[in-house]
């Protein structure tokens, strides 16, 4: 959503609309995480009055979708692809292979036996 997007681009990896969107979601999630956790605590706490818990449920469900962690999807920093991305290297399988064969990724070596 435009209201969350940074006015100036602050990424130095491959950039397209989907990468910017995902990056925005990550920052929004970070900003609202404590609020979400507090609401979640109120909902789970059975010692609190039921009315307060119901209100917390409503509030949590009405928060913006971008504050949700499930909206975040790891994307490739080399090409912005969302599928076949290695979590540890943050790269899709093909750019990973190219970089690994070039020796750009420390500690990665083509197996041969």
């Amino acid at each position: 959503m435009a209201q969350f997007r940074a006015k100036k681009l602050d990424l130095s990896c491959f950039v397209n609309a989907r990468v910017i969107r995902d990056h925005t979601k990550r920052k929004v999630f970070e900003q609202y995480e404590t609020q979400r956790q507090a609401l979640r605590y109120i909902i789970r706490n059975t010692t609190l009055p039921p009315r307060a818990r119901a209100q917390a449920q409503l509030q949590l469900s009405q928060m913006h979708a971008y504050t949700r962690s499930t909206q975040i999807n790891n994307r490739c920093i080399e090409g912005g692809k969302s599928r076949g991305v290695f979590r540890h290297f943050r790269m899709a399988r093909y750019p990973f292979r190219m970089n690994a064969l070039e020796g750009n990724i420390p500690g990665v070596k083509k197996a041969s036996w």
Partner: protein, 115 residues
């Protein structure tokens, strides 16, 4: 030999006090597991590499530093070339009268019909 439940509860209470745990013999759900979770926001937001400093930022910070911009040089060269060929941008109009000349070339609006 059996021990009374109240004795065991007392023992648990003391144990919880000593090791600073919450005493909850009925196992009611207090939602403490939410509070125990670590915040993952900072690590999630640090996924994509951030832009640190660019040449543009450096130039803005130190204007007297001797730097060059290849794209800007190319543009200026192109502009100069066009000007020598007489294809440069028109001069900026200083007054309203001068800028009205362009308006005169356009189609005049049709006058409304008399009733």
């Amino acid at each position: 030999m059996s021990v009374a439940r109240s004795r065991i509860l007392d023992l648990m209470k003391v144990q919880c006090r000593i090791f600073s745990m919450t005493f909850n013999p009925e196992r009611t759900r207090t939602g403490n597991k939410i509070l125990r979770q670590r915040l993952k926001g900072p690590s999630v937001a640090a996924y994509y590499p951030r832009r640190v400093a660019t040449v543009k930022d450096l130039r803005a910070l130190y204007p007297d530093l001797d730097t060059w911009d290849e794209d800007e040089d190319d543009r200026l060269e192109h502009v100069a070339l066009m000007k020598t060929r007489g294809k440069g941008a028109p001069k900026k109009k200083r007054s309203a009268d001068e800028s009205k000349k362009i308006l005169g070339k356009r189609k005049k609006p049709v006058a409304p019909k008399a009733p």
